[in-house]
Amino acid sequence: MAGNDSSGKQKPLFTLQWHVTARCDQRCKHCYMHKSETYPSEIKNELSYEDCKKIVDDFVKTTSIWGFRPRISFIGGDPLLRKDLYQLIDYAYKKGAQVVVLGNPYHVTEESARKMKELGVCRYQVSIDGMEETHDYFRKPVSFKDSVRAIKILNKTGIRTAVMFTLSKKNSDDLLKVAELCCKLGVYEFDFARLIPIGNGADMMDELFSPAEMREFLLKVHNGYESLKKRYTTKFGTKENLWKPLYYELGLIKDKDIDSLDDNSDMVVGGCSIGINYIPVLADGTVYLCRRLPISIGKVPENSFRTIFINSKKADEMRHLHNYGCSKCRLCAVCRGCPAISKAITSNEFARDPQCWF
């Protein structure tokens, strides 16, 4: 099978996070896209269908040479606002990519969900950023109710649902309530990510936890998740890198676990995905190392993923541990904090994560 290696083991995934459009029917208070440097070009120079096909071809071929299974996450803005999205999904799926969609709830209907299911979409993610009042404050009136409606339709259609929560001081008290709501709705996976104060979110610097508050918050969420896991089947993601220091302190990650992974080559093995198994492309073809770290490393389809990802000087720098402010930390090879937060707050992506207490 194309997705397995010679020993029959499933190959790991390499994700293309593809912002196929910057168009959106919301203008969220925290959104990194609005007020960003690339936004005008993303709106004006949205990639054509022909260019998109070249990008799919190149991504699928390149990742298979590298030994991965390709995964394409169609995202926006709202990807469903692209008229040719179904054609693109069909093209990507038939080329062998796993296809997921990260979008808004508004255009999820019984018909669009059925269509996505038929075309091979295995997961649809919506955002819920708080209970109704808080969520609608960030997004817009009725957004919360519509997200719940969309989740119910997607579940009925048999597309796995995922919910992402963007964490700030303003909504932190709601996180476990939203997690429980997701459990009750039968959401497949729930996770959260910290607010990165860029784009519209640049005005929300005061909404970030201090390191001590961050630790206290994570401990509370850890205990909350453990209790929910006893009663529900929803999975709780652990994409937040600062789980690593907490797990280490709680004895859930041990020294021998880190030693078995870190090969002392001064190169990263996990944590932040930059330079590892993920590449984001913006609506005009600009390539970043992370969507939340606004540093351009090239442009597709003019350049190939291979040239960009392997030859980029910035990618190389970010793969080497000695460049990081926390390089002496026991956990650096498997964590690195979040360089996007470091960049947004200190202007230096290599600076120690300003929310890390460890």
Binding site: W66, F68, R71, Q125, G237, V269, G270, E302, S304
Partner: protein, 51 residues
Amino acid sequence: MIEYIQEKYLQGEQKPLMYQPITPKEEQVFRYVKNGSLDKVMSCAVCGMCG
């Protein structure tokens, strides 16, 4: 040369895509694919969530 042809194709010339096999630098960058450590470390985008 092969990289050159690949770049030209991506620029719109209708030539078949040709790709070199994995290079030593790529072997190093992706060494964790072979040694299996990627399965063991939850890295930020492994779940394909977030955005």
